[in-house]
Symmetry: C2
Subunit: 337 residues, 2 copies
DNA sequence: GTGAAAGCGCTAACAA
DNA sequence: TTGTTAGCGCTTTCAC
C-alpha cells in the first residue's frame, strides 16, 4: 500500500520538530498550546504532502492497537454473519477495527488462532467458542474477552447469549400445546454449550409437561447437510415423530428439504419448529415457526461489555430471552386424537 | 491482552543475545548456523516462559503486516457473507489475517475507511466498492488492490466478478423462452456497476429477442425492503408485467413477500427469476429459479490475484460466467396466448 | 556461531 | 510554545 510521507520527513520540510507535528496530528495541539500559526502550517503541509500517520508505529509506541479480534465458527452462517455485521458497526462507532477469524468449529484451529491473534496485540477479543472445554481460554481470564452465543461456565470470562434453555423450553411447550408428544430434535454441534443448553431446555419442558416421555435427539452439526441426513434417518424410523425441532436455521433448511424430497409435507406429515429465525422463514413452504434470537442485543451488549472490560470495569454475563415467532409449520393435532 | 515476555527479556534470562533468540524464533537458526545446543536452549526457554513475539514490533521493522483489508458493503447480506467466508479461509492458508470493514453502501464511509485502513499498513486490499465513480481509489492504482464483485473500468485496478451482463442476459432469455415479454426488473443499488451491468444484459437480451420492447426497471437497493416496496408498486401498475426479474437474493425475498401479501401467487400470477441464488431458494414456495454466482471462484481468484500483486506480478481482470438454476417460479406461457 | 548497534515511525517525559 | 531524547520490540547488517 502507498506509504506516504512520515512525520519526521514532514517536520523537516516545514522546519518544526516531529513532536510538534505529532501533537497537531493527534489533536493535542490545544493541550500543548501550539500556536495557531504552527497548527495551520502543519495542517496545511500534512494535507499537501498527504501525511498518513503510521498506525503500526503508533501501536508499538502506545501499546494499543484499536483492534478487536472476532472469532466465530462460520462467517457464512447467517446467524454469525448478522452478529458480525452488528458488531462491526458498533465497534466502528468506538473507533475500533475488527480482525476477523473463522474457526470452522475446530478447537485446534481456535487455539492456533488465539495464538496468532495474541501476537497482534489486539485490545480485546469477542469470541463464539467451540467445544465444551475452555482450557485454552484460561490464560485470558484477566484480559478483555467476552464470549458471545457460547461460553464456558467454569471460566470467569463473561458472556452474552440467547437464553438457549428457555428458548428451547418455549418452543417445546409450543409443540406440546399443539398436541404433540412424539417430538424429535435435530441438534447442532453436540459439543457446544448453546446446543447443550437447548437440549436441556427441551428435556425440561418434556419432563414438566409430559412426564417421562422421551425425546429422540439426532444429528450433530449446525449445517444444512446435517439437517438433511438426520431428517432422512428420522423418516426411516419405525416410530416417526409427529414434530421436529431443529436447533438452527441451517438445520431447518436441510430437514425441510429432506421431508420434501421424501414426498412428505409440513405440517401435514410432520410439524416443524426451529431455533434461530431468519427472514426467509416467512417464505418457505410452509412458513416456519421459529425461535428468534436477539442478535442485535447480543452484539450491542457484547461490544459494550468489552469496552467496559478494556476500561477496567467489571461486567457480568447476560442471557437474553428469545421469542417464538408463530407461523404455519406446526399443526394443531389436539382434536385429531 | 496478556503481554508475555519479550525477546530481550528472554535473551537475558538465558544469557544469549536478542539477535539469537530472534533468529531461532523466526526459523532462521539454520540460515545463521546457530548451534543445536543454543537452538534447543532458546526453544525450551521460549516454551517455558510463553514467549509470544510481538507482531506489532515485527510489522514496524519489516514494513509488512500480513494483514489484508476486506471492504464489503454489508456483511449480513448472504452473498457477501459467503464471499467473506471463502476469502477468510484462503487468506488464512497464506498466513494472512483479515481486517474487516463494512461500508454500508456509502461512498463517504468507504473513503473514510480507506484512510483508516491505509494508516494500518495493510499488505493488500480486497474491496467490493460502492458507486459508479472510483476517484478515491485512484491513488491505489499502484498498490495491491483487487476489486471483487464490482469495479471501475476507468481504473487500472484489476477485478474479479460474476459476468453480470451475461448472467442477466441468460435470465432474460430464459423468461423470453418461456413466453414472457412483459418483464419488469427490480434492481439493486442503481449506482453500482454490478447493477448496471445486469441492466445492460437485460436490455440487450430484450433488444436481441423482442426488438424494441421496453423493460420496466424499478427499485433502488439490494435489500429485502426495496424488493417489497418495489413489488408493491408493480402490483398497482396498470399494465402489470407477467414476469419479475429481481437483481439480488434479498430483493427476491422482499418481492415474493409482497406478492404473497397481496394475495397473488408465483408462478400463477407472476413469474419470478432472481439474480444471486441461495440455498433456501429451493425451499420457498415456489422454489425460485435463479442465476447462481460463482462465489467460490470469485473469492479464490481474488485472493490469488492479490497475492500475485503483492509479489509484484501482473494480473488481469476476470469475469466468471454464472449459471441459471432452473426451479419452479417461472411459468411457461407459450401456449396460453 | 554469536553479538552490538542501528533503526522501523511514532509519542511523551523532561527540558528549555 | 516548542524541541530533545529515549524507547516501544523487533530484525538485520556488520563485525568478531
Amino acid at each position: 500500500m502507498p506509504v506516504g510521507i512520515t512525520l519526521k520527513e514532514l517536520a523537516e520540510k516545514i522546519g518544526v520538530s516531529r513532536t510538534t507535528v505529532s501533537r497537531v496530528m493527534s489533536g493535542n495541539a490545544n493541550k500543548y498550546r501550539i500556536s495557531t500559526a504552527t497548527v495551520e502550517k502543519v495542517k496545511r503541509a500534512a494535507e499537501q504532502y498527504g501525511l498518513v500517520p503510521n498506525k503500526v508505529a503508533q501501536n508499538l509506541r502506545l501499546q494499543r492497537t484499536d483492534t478487536i479480534g472476532l472469532l466465530i465458527p462460520d462467517v457464512a452462517n447467517p446467524f454469525f454473519a448478522n452478529l458480525a455485521s452488528v458488531i462491526e458497526r458498533e465497534l466502528r462507532d468506538q473507533g475500533k477495527m475488527i480482525l476477523l477469524c473463522s474457526t470452522n468449529e475446530s478447537t485446534a484451529l481456535e487455539t492456533e488462532t488465539l495464538d496468532m491473534i495474541a501476537r497482534r496485540q489486539i485490545d480485546g477479543l469477542l469470541v463464539a467458542p467451540v467445544g465444551l472445554e475452555g482450557g485454552h481460554f484460561k490464560s485470558l481470564e484477566e484480559s478483555p474477552v467476552v464470549f458471545i452465543d457460547r461460553y464456558f461456565s467454569d471460566l470467569t470470562i463473561p458472556h452474552v447469549s440467547t437464553n438457549n434453555e428457555w428458548g428451547a423450553y418455549l418452543a417445546t411447550k409450543y409443540l406440546v400445546d399443539k398436541g404433540h408428544s412424539e417430538i424429535a430434535c435435530i441438534q447442532g454441534l453436540i459439543s457446544t454449550v448453546s446446543n447443550q443448553d437447548r437440549i436441556t431446555g427441551i428435556r425440561k419442558a418434556i419432563s414438566d409437561l409430559l412426564g417421562d416421555q422421551k425425546v429422540d435427539v439426532v444429528g450433530d452439526g449446525f449445517t444444512i447437510q446435517n439437517g438433511y441426513y438426520a431428517m432422512e434417518k428420522l423418516l426411516q424410523s419405525k416410530n416417526p415423530p409427529t414434530a421436529i425441532f431443529t436447533l438452527s436455521n441451517q438445520i431447518a433448511i436441510g430437514a425441510l428439504e429432506a421431508i420434501r424430497d421424501s414426498g412428505k409435507s409440513v405440517p401435514q406429515d410432520f410439524s416443524l419448529i426451529s431455533f434461530d429465525e431468519q427472514p426467509y422463514f416467512k417464505l418457505t413452504s410452509p412458513p416456519i415457526t421459529a425461535v428468534r434470537q436477539p442478535i442485535e442485543q447480543i452484539a450491542q451488549n457484547a461490544v459494550r461489555m468489552l469496552m467496559d472490560l478494556i476500561q477496567g470495569n467489571e461486567v457480568s454475563s447476560l442471557k437474553i430471552d428469545p421469542q417464538v415467532i408463530e407461523r404455519e409449520s406446526v399443526a394443531d393435532i389436539n382434536n385429531q386424537k
